[in-house]
């Protein structure tokens, strides 16, 4: 007997199962922000550390479907070492293609985007305060 058809891509499955960087981050230059709600089915929170204009670490918490968990986890891994920008490392359409997210779930990627940008802004503020 063959296994049930998998509704998730291999990449989604891997990041959902392993979920690297799940948790919170504290310390110098760390900003955090959340978007969405449990009541609406998707809640994402990012903690981002920015030092010397670069992202040095990131963590996430997520209440959501496997796609949400996988994308949030991947972002926190991919962003490290990048120069800070108030955008996602990859836009939501590219993320949708990369993780094969059903189009009906685009709204969930927008929640991720909102949380990410808010966290970056918070981290920039914290980073500047640390310099002062």
């Amino acid at each position: 007997m063959s296994a049930a058809p998998d509704p998730y891509s291999e990449l989604t499955q891997r990041y959902f199962e392993q979920s690297p960087n799940a948790g919170i981050l504290q310390g110098l230059g760390v900003g955090s922000a959340m978007a969405g709600s449990e009541a609406a089915g998707t809640l994402v929170q990012f903690h981002v550390q920015i030092l010397q204009q670069h992202i040095t670490a990131a963590r996430f918490l997520a209440f959501g479907c496997p796609h949400v968990i996988a994308v949030a986890s991947w972002l926190t891994e991919t962003c490290v070492g990048r120069r800070v920008q108030e955008t996602l490392p990859e836009n939501v359409h590219a993320l949708q293609r990369r993780f094969e997210v059903p189009v009906e779930k685009m709204g969930r990627l927008l929640v991720i985007e909102d949380a990410w940008i808010a966290a970056i802004r918070a981290a920039i503020t914290k980073s500047r305060a640390a310099l002062d």
């Binding site: 998730y8 919170i24 955090s32 009541a39 089915g41 997520a62 009906e104």
Partner: protein, 406 residues
């Protein structure tokens, strides 16, 4: 290489065919004398097939407590529900166009009633209490002069609660209204005595009781004087109520399955009760776990648990490789539809989605329960950690989590 299959705990959806039943089905299929059409009883082949069917009719009747002559073979409980509800509605449409049913019924009943509603019938939708139990007096109070049918399921397929069919039947009888009962989940889980309970019509399914798929029956107490308008016309089989050549092997299998189910019901239920208790208790150790339905009066074979702090689709995705269970929603996409049964009981949309229905069966072992508990516990702990559920919502307020972040 054979892939390891998950443990099967979805017996409320369907059961494996009992080897004794499959042996009976194969015997009928392989017997060189039994391939005749039971409607052609004028020759030996037809008569031999008819004898098998009549023997099964007796087996089923004994198992559910009705007269063999009350049984109308169908393709399953869905067809039986359709025949009962649409058949009564059409036959009595000049007498009245009001039907009473419950919000937590099976889709086969709900959709029939919705269809009638579209055609101009009036439907009263009753809501059970938070345990899933319907107050029989609510049925009595909903009856009107133009009520032609009450339809209430016996054992709920999602949460396992058992309705007081005897009391409801008595109240219906006092008002001269026939009672239809979807009893697809009852056989083999609790004793059945349809005539003794005063049920007018009952829907039965073979595959929920270790029989083959594609066969079921509608029981119509012929003493009631209730009539039906058929849905299927043709050869006039089954007293004209359900035309079509009868599937001898499937019917023989259903007879065998029901005989075994009735004989072994006590043992099966006692075993399931022990396993179900273990499952609920050990999952309960996680905290934030809600059992749906009234466990004390429900059937042992259905255990429905809701898990706080996890998202439904992720929960199912996290356990699906190890256990085969049903979820509280159809969640393959963003268009999740939380269980209408759980919503009717007052569960929030999120909690209804984060629900697993464990259907225990005759072949469920203690080891299967161990695997289920381990799998679910690991998944819930991991997902709660990812959601920050176990970190006391330190980073942001719990109120924001529940109500929506600004």
């Amino acid at each position: 290489m054979t892939q390891r299959l998950p443990v099967y705990l979805d017996n409320a959806a369907t059961t494996a065919v009992d080897p004794r039943v499959s042996a009976r089905v194969m015997q009928v299929l392989n017997d060189a004398d039994l391939y005749g059409n039971a409607a052609s009883a004028s020759h030996a082949f037809g008569a031999a097939a008819l004898a098998q069917i009549e023997a099964a009719r007796v087996q089923v009747a004994r198992a559910v407590g009705c007269d063999p002559g009350d049984i109308v073979w169908t393709s399953g409980a869905t067809e039986a529900d359709n025949l009962a509800i649409l058949g009564v509605a059409q036959y009595y449409r000049e007498r009245g166009r009001h039907i009473v049913t419950v919000r937590t019924e099976h889709k086969a009943v709900l959709d029939c009633c919705r269809e009638l509603e579209k055609r101009g019938w009036s439907i009263t939708w009753l809501t059970p209490d938070a345990r899933g139990i319907l107050d029989p007096q609510a049925v009595a109070q909903s009856l009107r002069a133009d009520t032609v049918l009450v339809s209430v399921m016996h054992v709920n397929n999602e949460i396992g609660v058992v309705q007081d069919i005897r009391a409801i039947a008595s109240l219906c009888a006092a008002h001269g209204v026939p009672l239809h009962v979807d009893a697809a989940q009852s056989v083999g889980k609790i004793p059945l005595d349809l005539r003794g309970a005063g049920v007018t019509l009952a829907s039965l399914s073979a595959h929920k009781a270790y029989g083959p798929k594609g066969v079921g029956a509608l029981v119509l107490d012929h003493r009631s004087g209730v009539h039906l308008q058929p849905l299927v016309y043709g050869g006039g089989q089954e007293k004209g109520l359900r035309s079509g050549t009868l599937p001898t092997h499937q019917i023989a299998g259903m007879g065998e399955a029901f005989e075994i189910a009735a004989r072994e019901q006590t043992d099966d239920s006692q075993r399931a009760a022990g396993l179900g208790r273990l499952l609920a208790e050990r999952c309960g150790e996680l905290g934030g776990v809600w059992r749906n339905g009234d466990a004390a009066s429900g059937v042992a074979q259905i255990v429905s648990l809701s898990f706080e702090g996890v998202e439904g689709e992720s929960l199912l995705a996290a356990v699906r490789d190890r256990i085969a269970v049903s979820a509280g929603s159809a969640c393959a996409s963003a268009n999740q539809e939380p269980s209408y049964v759980l919503r009717a009981l007052g569960r929030s949309e999120r909690l209804a989605e984060a629900t697993l229905r464990f259907g225990l069966g005759r072949f469920t072992s203690a080891q299967d329960i161990d695997i289920a508990v381990q799998s679910v516990s690991a998944a819930v702990r991991r997902l709660r950690k990812i959601a920050g559920f176990e970190q006391g919502d330190a980073a942001e307020s719990a109120a924001a989590r529940r109500a929506g972040a600004p």
